[in-house]
Subunit: 198 residues, 2 copies
C-alpha cells in the first residue's frame, strides 16, 4: 500500500463487507479531519458528522437501510445493475453495512449553509472521507438509501435543520477488491461544446 | 511539492487567479481520469465533462458568472463572508474565473443516472478532479453560481437531460495560497446521537 495520491484515487472501491476488527477513534479522527479540508460554499463548512458505534443504533440504521432497499430501491435497481453488483448491494443492504463497526452519518446544517448548496458543500467532504479511508487501508462506501425518509433523523435525534445526506460504513475490509470498473473519461468528455468529441 | 495523499488533501484551496501559462491536454486528461474513479449510484458514472478553452466561450461563461454574482449572489453573501474572502470571490467572479485557460463544466446525464442521485454521483468526481489539480500543482475552484439558469446550458449546447452542476476553472496559480482555514472536526462531530460531543 502506498499513500501516493493517484494510487489512492485509483484503488477506491465500495466495500460492503467488513471484519469484526474495531476501528479506533484515532482512525476516525484522521478521516474526519481529511473531510473538513474539502471546499464548501462561502467556506461555511456546513457538515455535521454523527459517528455511530452503539450496536443497537447500528442495527436500527441497518433496518432502515434494508427496508428502503427491499421496499423500493431493489425493484428499481434489479434490472439496471449487473448480477455481481446487485448481489453485492443485496448483501450490503441486508446486514453488511450495519455490521461495519462504525457508521458515519454525514449531514448538512442548513442554518450554517444554504440548503441549496448542501450537496455541493458536503459531498466533496464525503469524498475526502472515503479517499482517506482508502489511504489508511480501511473499507468504506457511499450510501444514501437510508436518508430518504424521517427514520434516520429520528434515530439520531437530528434537529429539523440538520439533514442526513449519506451513511458511510467504515471497517477493515473482509476481502481485497480489484480496481474499479470505469468507462474511459474520453467517452464522457467534450471539447468546448457538448457533442464535440475529445 | 509531494504527491502524498494527506499532504494533497491538506493543501487544497480555491484558486481564482491564474497565470497565462497554458494547461496541456495531458494535464486535463489526468484530472478527468482521476474524476472518473469516484463512486456513483449504481456505478452509472453519470458525469459529462465539457472542457472549454475557446476564448469567446470562456468570456461568455465569465459574463454568466458575473451577472449571477452581481445580480443576486453578492448581495446575499456580502454580509456573510469575511472581507478577504469577499474580495477574492469578487475578483474571481468579475474576470478571474473566465481568465483561467481551461474551464471544465461538469454535468450530470439524467438519462444515465437518476436525477435525484446526480449530486451524490457527481460532486465526489468533482472533488477528485480538484484534488488531482492540487496534486499536479494546478489551481482550481469549485464554483456553482453560473449553473442556476438556462444560459450556461445554452452556451454549451447541452441537451435537456444534461444538467450543469459546476464550473471548475483550471490554471497555473497566480500566487501560492496558505493552508485552508477550517474549524476543528471535533466542533461538528457527535457520538452516536446528535448533541453528544466527540
Amino acid at each position: 500500500m502506498t499513500d501516493d495520491f493517484f494510487a489512492v484515487v485509483g484503488r477506491q472501491r465500495a466495500h460492503r463487507a467488513f471484519t469484526a476488527e474495531p476501528v479506533t477513534d484515532a482512525f476516525v479522527a484522521r478521516l474526519l479531519e481529511a473531510a473538513t479540508y474539502a471546499p464548501s460554499a462561502e467556506n461555511r463548512q456546513p457538515w455535521e458528522f454523527v459517528v455511530v458505534r452503539e450496536p443497537s443504533l447500528r442495527a436500527r440504521i441497518g433496518e432502515i437501510t434494508e427496508r428502503a432497499w427491499t421496499g423500493l430501491g431493489r425493484s428499481f435497481s434489479e434490472t439496471r445493475l449487473t448480477p455481481g453488483l446487485l448481489a453485492d448491494v443485496d448483501a450490503g443492504a441486508t446486514g453488511g453495512v450495519a455490521a461495519a463497526p462504525v457508521l458515519i452519518v454525514v449531514c448538512a446544517d442548513t442554518e450554517r449553509g444554504l440548503a441549496i448548496t448542501a450537496p455541493s458543500s458536503v459531498f466533496p467532504a464525503i469524498q475526502n472521507l472515503l479517499l482517506a479511508a482508502t489511504a489508511l487501508g480501511l473499507g468504506s462506501a457511499l450510501t444514501t438509501i437510508a436518508t430518504g425518509g424521517p427514520d434516520l433523523a429520528d434515530a439520531l435525534g437530528l434537529p429539523d435543520h440538520v439533514l442526513p445526506l449519506a451513511v458511510v460504513p467504515i471497517g477493515h475490509p473482509a476481502r481485497p477488491l480489484g480496481p474499479p470498473r470505469r468507462d474511459p473519461f474520453t467517452a464522457h468528455t467534450h471539447r468546448d461544446r457538448y457533442g464535440t468529441p475529445w
